[in-house]
Symmetry: C2
DNA sequence: TCAACAAACTAACATTTGTTAGTCTGCACA
DNA sequence: TGTGCAGACTAACAAATGTTAGTTTGTTGA
């Protein structure tokens, strides 16, 4: 049991440090020190610092892509789709808050190829989110307000969940989901 | 006219680059190249790279501090106070989106002293924002939901305005303020 | 005409960085 | 007992970084 191999350990430690200080402020020696080994030893498990970043970010970006595709394929109301989107963000954030912070803060440090891939996924994700909102406006489920504003208001809240969740131990995931859906859809009044 | 002195030029160019790549990924040589001078020449105007960061971030943090203090001192309804907070964020973001991005992304790279000062201001800002929400709950103006959730939902939306505003040239500040207040207070339904 | 100064330059520095090469050690298994 | 290998190590590298020292250049006001 607890068969966490060394590579996963490295990825988790790195994500934690990246979250605290940012990718460029964390050196391979910093990561190594946290694991009580020397920097050169890291290269027995990973091929480069870039690879650490890629494995951390791309995995989560793909999870979002898969998640929204699944939601989009279902024949349910817009409100239900939005509820599932809230759930998706919560699930992925709670599963690995450090990596999620990394996605939000350090994606621009990906190398060209992975950067292009990431941006493509992000754009498509936002496009699909936007489509859901537009569909809701057409059907009358959603108020006819500025779509871009609604989109980024929801997205920014969902994307920065990692910043404050964790200080409130009392808040259970199911309750968080219910409260967050309520606030995002109906506001605070 | 256009008496922008060299120091301001440096600060603006630096903020633009910091926004694109992050503080640690931008070298003094990068900043200098953007101004068609050599890195050493920058030191005729500024004392260190840290100083650039400090001047950029602290100014805005203090503007927020002053802004919320002014709002707090007024004897108006909670709803009116929240509207003024929305206005404050919009005003400061539109005045200098690059510096605002810098505040959001690079504050952790401030040196100890300024970092402590910044965090203190940020905590007090959030405390005052939270107090306004709590007052609203007591008076019945605001729904009795999780305060932390409402606080960070609003804050994350307001703080990341710089990420998407600018793609929508058509949206005027006054309209943005009205729409954003509507979405944050009453939701999207 | 010349002194003063702002603001650019060249050259160099000590550190830090990511990474590689080559080596050592101890466990698993034949 | 011995072979192989995972995974640690030491040593070193070239490149990039922030910064300093000392110098040149051009404009401005006496």
């Amino acid at each position: 049991m607890e068969k966490t191999d060394r590579k996963s350990e490295i990825l988790h430690v790195a994500a934690k440090l990246f979250r605290e200080r940012g990718y460029n402020a964390v050196s391979m020696r910093d990561i190594a020190k946290e694991l009580d080994i020397k920097a050169a030893s890291l290269y027995n498990h990973i091929s480069s610092k870039q690879e650490i970043l890629e494995l951390t970010i791309i995995r989560i970006a793909e999870a979002f892509t898969n998640g929204i595709n699944l939601i989009n394929s279902q024949d349910i109301s817009v409100k239900e789709q939005l509820t599932l989107l809230v759930e998706l963000h919560i699930k992925l954030t709670l599963a690995d808050p450090d990596a999620m912070a990394c996605v939000n803060n350090d994606w621009m440090h990906l190398a060209k190829q992975e950067l292009d891939y990431f941006i493509q996924m992000r754009n498509r994700y936002e496009d699909k989110f936007r489509s859901i909102l537009k569909k809701g406006i057409s059907s009358g489920e959603i108020a006819d307000l500025n779509v871009e504003l609604m989109l980024f208001s929801m997205l920014s809240t969902l994307r920065t969940l990692h910043l404050w969740y964790g200080r409130k131990k009392s808040l259970q995931p199911a309750q968080l989901k219910a409260d967050m859906t309520r606030v995002l859809l109906q506001g605070i009044l």
